[in-house]
């Protein structure tokens, strides 16, 4: 393989990973902006989507019905979680919510380990065609599915938030929840909606990536954390999150290719932390902020 095709190959890996992180980042910011909760179970929804689908196909169900049930099941888990664990908390603060969702994440992880065991599982890809070749690099058809999914989510959500009544109401409640309540927006319903949407998107992500990365009970933590970093670095906006996600993915791809595959998770996270710290400084070329 020539250097050019190598670079192309790693870039394809990077964009695949980056699209996944972008979707996960959007899930984090959906919940954070409306409810001010850092939902550490976001990563577990991805795991649940993949594991539900694997479990149902192991019972002999086809891929399509299995994934539909998996998405519905994960949404139900997310909504029930919001209803019975998160809403009844008295005197909530960001710290309480964080402890609560970390606890919920460890509950979901433990239950998944008990039900499905510790081995990594693989589910079959959506299109069973041959790999494509592009300039010496190979592309699995599933990669195209992942990228298409990310693009659909990005544009779909942008349209939803900008051009529909409900989307505008959601944005209003993210900006100022007291004001939104005053004009008659039912925040409680929107909280449920956000959790459900996050669960559904996470589950689809899990189903789409499982043929490539495998799915296991412990995958949620690392992927979820990367999604969170991406959402923060992207400033909780959809465009920013997608850019940050692709940047993280590309960094990871090139790091895995040229430096060391063992440290491929460490280096991008380190870069993101350093970026966060640098963003607290004000540099001379930025001028004065109002």
């Amino acid at each position: 393989m020539s250097l050019l095709s190598q670079i192309l190959q790693y870039a394809i890996f990077g964009i695949t990973g980056g699209s996944i992180y972008a979707v996960i980042g959007i899930c984090w910011s959906l919940v954070y902006l409306i409810t001010k909760i850092l939902n550490f179970t976001t990563g577990e929804f991805i795991m649940l989507g993949g594991m539900f689908t694997w479990g149902l196909s192991a019972l002999g169900m086809g891929l399509f019905p299995a994934s539909v049930i998996a998405v519905a099941g994960t949404m139900v888990v997310a909504i029930v979680m919001e209803r019975i664990a998160i809403r009844p908390v008295r005197h909530p603060s960001e710290m309480t919510y964080m402890m609560l969702t970390i606890a919920l994440a460890s509950i979901i992880e433990g239950v998944a380990l008990l039900i499905w065991g510790a081995e990594p599982r693989k589910i079959s890809p959506i299109f069973k065609t041959e790999v494509l070749h592009l300039g010496g690099a190979t592309i699995a058809p599933q990669v195209l599915c992942i990228i298409a999914f990310m693009v659909t989510v990005t544009f779909g959500l942008s349209w939803f938030f900008n051009y529909t009544l409900y989307g505008k109401a959601l944005r209003a409640s993210a900006l100022n929840s007291a004001g939104a309540k005053l004009v008659g927006i039912d925040i409680g319903k929107f909280r449920l909606f956000c959790f459900g949407l996050t669960g559904g998107l996470g589950a689809i992500t899990g189903i789409v990536i499982a043929p490539i990365t495998y799915t296991g009970y412990d995958m949620g933590l690392l992927d979820g954390l990367k999604g969170l970093m991406v959402a923060i670095v992207g400033g909780w906006t959809i465009t920013g999150t997608v850019m940050a996600g692709l940047a993280l993915g590309l960094l990871e791809g090139f790091c895995a290719g040229f430096i060391s595959s063992g440290f491929k998770d460490v280096f991008p996270l380190l870069v993101m932390v350093i970026y966060l710290i640098l963003s607290t400084y004000r540099f001379s070329w930025e001028g004065r902020k109002a």
Binding site: M95, I102, A103, L104, S106, I107, G110, A118, V273, I277
Partner: protein, 340 residues
């Protein structure tokens, strides 16, 4: 009574130190030893979170680095006490170098960055197999020797770990009343007000961050010499969930709350391992975390103050009852006070 000496805490401490000679049950001593080590960790973390207002999840990092540094130095032939000092010094310098830029972040941003540190450390240790032993962990840690005497056995480590734990409790208690402690409490209540009084908040926060890191490293050293084996599974996400459970159960507002929480959590874990493990064969740290997760959710929903908060509520209730009784028996004064 002698002035300046508090009788109740001293007698509790004395009872703890005399306990292994009164109750010669090796199992119980070992569990209590664990309680002291985890309690010391939870104590430092709760101090950082609740008293100093630094939302750092990084405690498992310093524990793991301290334990590994001690183990590696001892394996490479350093005298054990020197190894402990090396580990504490390395962790202190590391915490200063990382903390100085990291503590510029606030709130959730600090939470995320420290969470990343936990993951980064875990992957790094697993990948540096030639030094740390990778997945298998660091084996063959030599025993703790002080001046030629080999220290082993649960009783001696019980004494060491409880001395460390109670020492930390005493230290933090005094710290709260010192200049630093008052500055930290002021900055927790209102950062702007504290700054306008001339408190250099970042400096105090960094100081307390480094101090708790070094304490966690000392705990890690004791743990490493006691178990004489170290792997990443003792740290990381499961440890984080356990520490949070301890703080939530005990209640972080008081200093002794996390200790109480450690007591409950460790006994609960032993109970889970002895009774529920028979029903569920695949018990690992992650399945423990499942039970702890359920407990955290239940306590945050039904008893947000934790055990110590609950005790305080009971005390308030008793006082209210006493006031009512008093008022009932001195009707005249109440009538005089009524039209206010």
């Amino acid at each position: 009574m002698i002035r300046g000496i508090r009788v109740i805490p001293l007698s509790i401490a004395l009872a703890i130190f005399l306990l292994p000679f009164a109750v010669p049950s090796p199992y119980m001593i070992a569990v209590l030893c664990f309680i002291a080590i985890y309690g010391a960790l939870a104590l430092g973390k709760a101090f950082l979170l609740e008293q100093a207002g630094v939302f750092s999840l990084g405690h498992p990092v310093w524990f793991v680095v301290g334990a590994y540094m001690t183990g590696i130095a001892a394996v490479w032939g350093a005298p054990p006490l020197l190894a402990v000092l090396i580990a504490a010094a390395v962790v202190g310098i590391l915490a200063y170098l990382i903390g100085a830029p990291l503590l510029r972040l606030k709130g959730i941003y600090l939470i995320c960055a420290t969470f990343c540190l936990i993951i980064i450390l875990e992957i790094t240790i697993v990948n540096m197999g030639s030094i740390t032993g990778g997945y298998n962990g660091l084996m063959n840690v030599p025993p703790l020797t002080i001046g030629g005497f080999i220290i082993k056995g649960d009783v001696s480590f019980y004494l060491i770990s409880w001395a460390l734990c109670l020492g930390m409790l005493w230290f933090f208690n005094n710290l709260l009343d010192s200049r630093e402690g008052r500055a930290l409490r002021a900055s927790r209540d209102s950062e702007v007000a504290a700054m306008s009084m001339g408190v250099n908040i970042p400096q105090y926060k960094l100081k307390i961050f480094v101090i708790t890191a070094v304490m966690a490293s000392l705990t890690g050293s004791v743990f490493c010499f006691w178990v004489r084996y170290m792997t990443v599974e003792f740290g990381g996400f499961p440890l984080l969930v356990e520490l949070i459970t301890m703080i939530v159960i005990g209640g972080g507002r008081t200093l002794y709350g996390p200790l109480l929480g450690a007591f409950v959590v460790i006994w609960l874990r032993e109970f889970i391992h002895t009774y529920i493990a028979k029903l569920l064969p695949q018990m690992t740290a992650e399945v423990d975390a499942l039970f702890f997760g359920v407990i955290i959710v239940l306590i945050l929903v039904f008893m947000p103050g934790g055990l110590t908060g609950w005790v305080e509520q009971c005390r308030d209730w008793v006082e209210q009852c006493r006031d009512k009784v008093k008022r009932a028996y001195s009707g005249r004064r109440v009538h005089e006070r009524l039209p206010r």
